[in-house]
C-alpha cells in the first residue's frame, strides 16, 4: 500500500527531524512517497530523498505554496490523494492546520496526534491530555493521519529515492501571508533536543528567565516554559510545553518553578529522566519526577549551572 507523507518544509528548508520521525511511523504502513511543497522546495526534496525508507519524493514548487497556507496546500494534497491509502504528516502546527482540511475534502475523518500504529486501519492516540490512550479502527477508505513525533525515533540517512517535480494544486486565493515573527536562536529545537530546561510562573519575570537559559546553555539544551510563564510574558509562545503546546520527550527534562498541572505533564511526561525543582514539596510535578529537589529555584538553578 502507498503512503503520501507531507514533509515539514519551512522557507525552502526541510525540518529533517520531524519529517524523519514521521517516516519511521509511515514505513509500517507501506511504500513512502514524501511531498515537499513550497515556493522553493527542491533542496528540501533532495534532503528528503536521503532519509532511509523513503521510496520517492515529489517536489511541488509554486509561490502559492510558500508559507504553508492551508487552502492551497490542502488542495494540492487532495489532488494527489487518488494514489494513496494513507496520507500522513508529523503533528506540527503546519500539518495540524492542513491535514484536517485534507481529510474533509476527501470526506474522511482525521486521526490527529497518533502515537502508535497497530495495523493499517488501527491506531493509538492520546486523549484527555494524555490521561487515556484510545485505540481506534478506521472504516474510511483513506486514512489521514498526523503522527506525534515525540513517540517515534527519526529514520536514519542512507536513502536514495527518486525525485520528481509536480505542479501546484488550485490556489483558491482565500488567504495571503503577511509576516512571520520568528526568533532566531542557536539553541537546539525544542521538539528534537536531547535536553530541555523549562521554567514556570515561579521564575517570576522575563529577566529572571535568563537563569533558565543559562542552565540550558550549559547543557546544550532547548528552553521550554509552562503556559503560565508564556501568558505572563516571561517566555515566547513557541516555548510552551503541554497539551496545547509542544510535546517533548527528551533524555532529560528539568522543570523549575512549574507546579505540574495535567496540561503541562501532557507535554513532557514521556521524557526519560525528569528533574523537578520547586519550593513547594506538595507540587504535583514531584509525582512524575525521577529526581525531585525542594528548593528555591533562585538558589538551586544557578548552583546547578555552576556545578554541572
Amino acid at each position: 500500500m502507498a503512503v503520501l507523507l507531507l514533509a515539514e518544509v519551512t522557507n525552502g528548508e526541510l525540518a529533517i527531524d520531524a519529517t524523519a520521525k514521521a517516516v519511521t511511523a509511515a514505513k509500517a504502513l507501506g511504500d513512502v512517497t514524501v511531498l515537499c511543497a513550497g515556493a522553493s522546495a527542491a533542496a528540501a526534496g533532495d534532503a528528503a530523498a536521503m532519509i532511509d525508507g523513503v521510496a520517492k519524493v515529489l517536489v511541488a514548487e509554486d509561490a502559492s505554496l510558500g508559507h504553508r497556507l492551508a487552502e492551497p496546500t490542502a488542495a494540492l494534497i487532495a489532488s494527489l490523494a487518488g494514489d494513496y491509502e494513507h496520507i500522513v504528516a508529523p503533528a506540527t502546527t503546519d500539518a495540524k492546520n492542513v491535514m484536517p482540511r485534507v481529510a474533509a475534502l476527501l470526506d474522511v475523518m482525521v486521526l490527529s496526534d497518533v502515537s502508535g500504529v497497530v495495523d493499517g486501519n488501527t491506531f493509538e492516540r492520546p486523549i484527555y491530555a494524555g490521561n487515556a490512550i484510545q485505540t481506534v479502527k478506521s472504516s474510511d477508505v483513506k486514512k489521514v493521519i498526523t503522527f506525534r513525533t515525540s513517540t517515534f525515533d527519526a529514520a536514519g540517512e542512507g536513502g536514495s529515492a527518486s525525485v520528481e517535480s509536480i505542479g501546484a494544486g488550485d490556489d483558491p486565493g482565500l488567504s495571503e501571508w503577511v509576516e512571520d515573527k520568528v526568533a532566531a536562536s542557536d539553541r537546539p529545537e525544542l521538539t528534537s533536543a536531547g535536553v530541555v530546561v523549562s521554567g514556570g510562573r515561579g521564575v517570576g519575570s522575563e529577566e529572571n528567565f535568563a537563569l533558565i537559559e543559562k542552565l540550558a546553555d550549559k547543557l546544550g539544551a532547548a528552553v521550554g516554559a509552562s503556559r503560565a510563564a508564556v501568558d505572563s510574558g516571561f517566555a515566547p509562545n513557541d516555548w510552551q510545553v503541554g497539551q496545547t503546546g509542544k510535546v517533548v520527550a527528551p533524555d532529560l527534562y528539568i522543570a523549575a518553578g512549574i507546579s505540574g498541572a495535567i496540561q503541562h505533564l501532557a507535554g513532557m511526561k514521556d521524557s526519560k529522566i525528569i528533574v523537578a525543582i520547586n519550593k513547594d514539596e506538595e507540587a504535583p510535578i514531584f509525582q512524575v519526577a525521577d529526581f525531585g529537589l525542594v528548593a528555591d529555584l533562585f538558589q538551586a538553578v544557578p548552583e546547578l549551572t555552576e556545578k554541572l
Binding site: 484536517p100 484527555y128 479502527k137 503577511v178 496545547t244 529537589l293
Partner: protein, 252 residues
Amino acid sequence: MKVLVPVKRVIDYNVKVRVKADGSGVDLANVKMSMNPFDEIAVEEAIRLKEAGKAEEIVVVSIGVKQAQETLRTALAMGADRAILVVAADDVHTDIEPLAVAKILAKVVEEEQPGLVLAGKQAIDNDMNATGQMLSAILGWSQATFASEMGIDGDSAVVTREVDGGLQTIKVKMPAIVTVDLRLNEPRYASLPNIMKAKKKPLDEKTADDYGVDVTPRLEIVKTSEPAARAAGIMVGSVDELVAKLKEAGAV
C-alpha cells in the same frame, strides 16, 4: 455581521480523568462538565467584536447530548444572543466526531449566513484539533487557525497565529473560519443578573436528522487504556546530590 460560535460541552479541565476498568472509555458519569476552555475564548472574542460595533449578533451552537444546553446557557450568560442545540446523541459518553460536527455546522452556516465562525482550536477531551479546518474545507471558506490576535478590516480579517516557529500573521478573506488559541483574550465570567437574563434568551432545539447529517462514527473505539505509569522517583536533599544522581544515571 453575524458571528457563529460552536461550543462544546467537555469534562472540566480541573477534573482528573479516570479510565474505566473494562477499557470501554473514561468515566463521565457524575463528573463536572464545562464549556471547552478554548470555546470560552471564542465566545469572549465574539462579544468583544459586538462591543466594538463590528458584529451585530452572536449565535452559539452545540452538538451532542441534551445536557449541552447548560453549556449554551453559559455562553448566553456571557453575552451571546441566541443558541442552537443540535441533539445528536443520548449517552453522555458518545462523542460526535469532528467530521460530523463540521457537516452539521456547515448546514447551520447555510441557514444563518454568518460572516465569521469563531471556534476553539481544540477540544480538551478528544484533543482532535480538527473541526474548524474541516468546516472551512466543506464550506470552501478561508481558515486561520491558532489565533492569538485578530482584527477585522473591511472584507478581510488579519489574524496572528501561534505556530511552532513563533508567530505568523495572515490576511484571510471573509467569510472566514478562525480557531482561537489561549492568548487571544481572557474570557469574562457571567454575572448573576446576566445568568438570570440568559434563561430568557432563545434556545432552539434541533436534531442531527433535521440537518440530514449522518453522525455514524468513522473511527470505531476498540479500547481505551491508561497510559504507562512512571516508576516512582526519589527526592534529593541538595544540588550536589542531584548532580551526583544525574551523573550516575548518565544524564549529564
